[in-house]
């Protein structure tokens, strides 16, 4: 033990702080290595892979039919979209035509899924910002209603496995549409309710306005997509810019803001998107034709023609793509996911640079990533 008194220099040293992998606000198991200078963030090094479940490896070692059931776990908050991306890629390769009723059903269920995903984001984001455990009760109330509806047709609350290669699994009864309509009628009021609590709340504004501004040049450099990109003023929404399925027949606009977006804009983009989903589902329920729902026979020994294809859908987080290489066998040669969360997370070091410690969660939450989508 040294006893002499040392001179103390008042310069603060940089400090490295480890955040995660078990941290209540990292939405799972992300680990951030923060280099801090006092309260200011100098550098962030995300450490991924704590949830690397080898989804791509599974894709090569499971048959097409088995893997269909697995991919809901790639992005569990919006399982419909992962199924849809895979289904589209395989249908392109295989030359399957999807019946129109199935296409409408796909749009309906995936827009419902988009609402549930945004609702969960809203709830957890408010917790991240310190709204404690009171607020999430509101969005979860509507989430449960949607889950009840989805469960009725898919048979599972979260892992739907409803969109299959060639169509959809089940045809809902007419009564289901009535329940859906009833929900659609009450849901906009509920969004008003959330907005009353949150949107103009002075604390919320203080925490989010002008925080974490995402410049357009940065966004395009890093390949950001989804609501983060649109709130920064680039109107790219696959449903409009590269229309697929029956989206060309539906009326809606791309939600975008005309300036470079901050955290509050990203919040607003998602709120507006939920309202838009309600509109889209309404149109679909009116337009949906009768007919078949499956264009390819589903069986264990299913094969996909040889070749390679890439297909993408607009998931709640951005462009969710799926690159499949098949050799005509029972299994794929290579399965590759293009995950929006993985790509959007790359901007985190850029956004956090120079911001105070307390803003980390506000910015990080607003990107809306989920970890299995990052790590697969």
């Amino acid at each position: 033990m040294a006893t002499e008194i040392q001179e103390i220099d008042l310069k603060t040293d940089e400090m490295i702080i480890n955040m995660g992998p078990q941290h209540p606000a990292t939405h799972g198991v992300l680990r951030l290595l923060l280099t801090l200078d006092g309260e200011t963030v100098k550098h962030v090094e995300p450490v991924l892979g704590h949830l690397h479940r080898a989804q791509e490896w599974q894709g090569q070692n499971r048959t097409w039919f088995q893997y269909q059931a697995l991919i809901d776990r790639v992005d569990y908050l919006s399982g419909m979209f992962t199924s849809w991306a895979m289904a589209r890629a395989c249908e392109q390769l295989d030359g399957v035509t999807v019946p129109e009723r199935a296409e409408y059903m796909r749009v309906i269920v995936s827009e419902m899924n988009r609402i549930t995903s945004h609702l969960l984001w809203l709830g957890t984001y408010l917790i991240d910002l310190g709204a404690m455990f009171g607020f999430p009760f509101y969005p979860f109330r509507e989430r449960e209603k949607l889950f009840d509806l989805l469960e009725e047709i898919a048979g599972q609350r979260m892992m739907f496995n409803y969109i299959r290669i060639g169509g959809v699994l089940r045809d809902p009864k007419p009564a289901w549409f009535d329940k859906l309509k009833a929900f659609l009628d009450e849901f906009p009021d509920r969004i008003d309710e959330y907005e009353t609590i949150v949107t103009q709340n002075p604390i919320f504004l203080k925490r989010t306005k002008g925080v974490g501004i995402l410049k357009q040049s940065v966004a395009t450099d890093y390949g950001v997509t989804g609501p983060c990109l649109r709130s920064s003023g680039i109107a790219m929404d696959l449903r409009r810019t590269r229309p697929y399925s029956v989206y060309p027949d539906l009326k809606f606009d791309v939600i975008t803001f005309d300036k470079e977006g901050d955290t509050w804009d990203r919040y607003m983009a998602r709120i507006l998107e939920m309202r838009q989903c309600v509109d889209i589902i309404r149109q679909c329920v009116e337009k949906i034709p009768t007919g078949d729902i499956m264009g390819k026979k589903q069986m264990a020994g299913m094969r996909i023609k040889a070749g390679e294809g890439f297909a993408a859908v607009e998931s709640p987080r951005g462009v969710l793509g799926c690159y499949v290489t098949s050799s005509g066998g029972e299994k794929a040669v290579r399965f590759r996911w293009r995950n929006p969360s993985f790509c959007n997370l790359t901007i985190l070091p850029e956004l956090l640079k120079g911001c105070p410690l307390s803003d980390i969660m506000a910015i990080f939450g607003s990107i809306d990533i989920i970890l299995p989508d990052v790590d697969r």
Binding site: L48, E56, G95, D221, R242, G309, R338, L345
Partner: protein, 222 residues
């Protein structure tokens, strides 16, 4: 068990792949026509009508032509689901990518993914390019022959991460899983697996580690 059975089976599957994909083309087209009609049309218009003759090199289409004008030679592969696919030599990759990204008429400025594929006799590094503003899309491949890779070394491909940030993590991931070394990458380190992981899991010859965490006869705490 499965990973032992995999290499032989996959190898035998992959051989006919090149030939078959050519034959499967006409059927694959109509399915694609609906969802991705516009980009397909652009590529299809330029495509010569000679379905079954793999050895004959295909005429360069829109992007191949563009690269040729700028002095970069590329080889055209059969379209993948209606999207133009080209092969670029490794030493010209960076120049080609800069051109494709920055030139005002092409402007393929969204790098979707960098994929590593362990094919039968090559390591492929596949780049999917889209654009933020228009509908074109392009697949660029860099093929490294397995015969050219020295024993105990990784195939090397130039990195894009220095001028295109989107490539950074994708290249790290490809390095991690498929074992393609992106030379001059700023921080080429494993991203998904632990840093001291051995082997590249998506290789055909990867042998899974078996220990107390995944053996079939666990000494569990049950």
């Amino acid at each position: 068990m499965t990973d032992e059975a995999k290499p032989e089976e996959a190898k035998s599957d992959a051989k006919p792949e090149e030939v078959k994909s050519e034959a499967a083309k006409p059927e694959a087209k109509p399915a694609d026509a609906k969802p991705a009609a516009k980009p397909a049309a652009a590529a299809a218009a330029a495509k010569p009508a000679e379905p079954a003759a793999p050895p004959v090199p295909l005429e360069p289409a829109k992007f191949g032509q563009f690269l040729k004008e700028h002095g970069i030679s590329s080889e055209r592969l059969p379209d993948s689901c209606g999207v133009e696919t080209i092969v670029v030599a490794a030493d010209q990759l960076e120049k080609a990518m800069r051109l494709l990204r920055n030139s005002s008429e092409i402007k393929l400025d969204l790098l979707l993914t960098v994929t590593g594929v362990d094919s039968a006799d090559t390591f492929d590094s596949v780049y999917h390019l889209w654009s933020y503003s228009h509908l074109d899309q392009l697949v660029v491949k860099v093929l490294t022959k397995k015969a050219d890779v020295a024993e105990g070394e990784l195939p090397a491909v130039p990195s894009l991460a220095n001028f295109w940030s989107a490539a950074n993590w994708h290249e790290r991931e490809t390095y991690d899983l498929v074992g393609i070394r992106y030379s001059s990458h700023p921080y080429l380190r494993r991203i998904l697996n632990p840093w001291d992981w051995e082997g590249h899991p998506l290789r055909r010859d990867y042998k899974q580690l078996v220990d107390a965490l995944n053996d079939k006869n666990p000494h569990s705490m049950r």
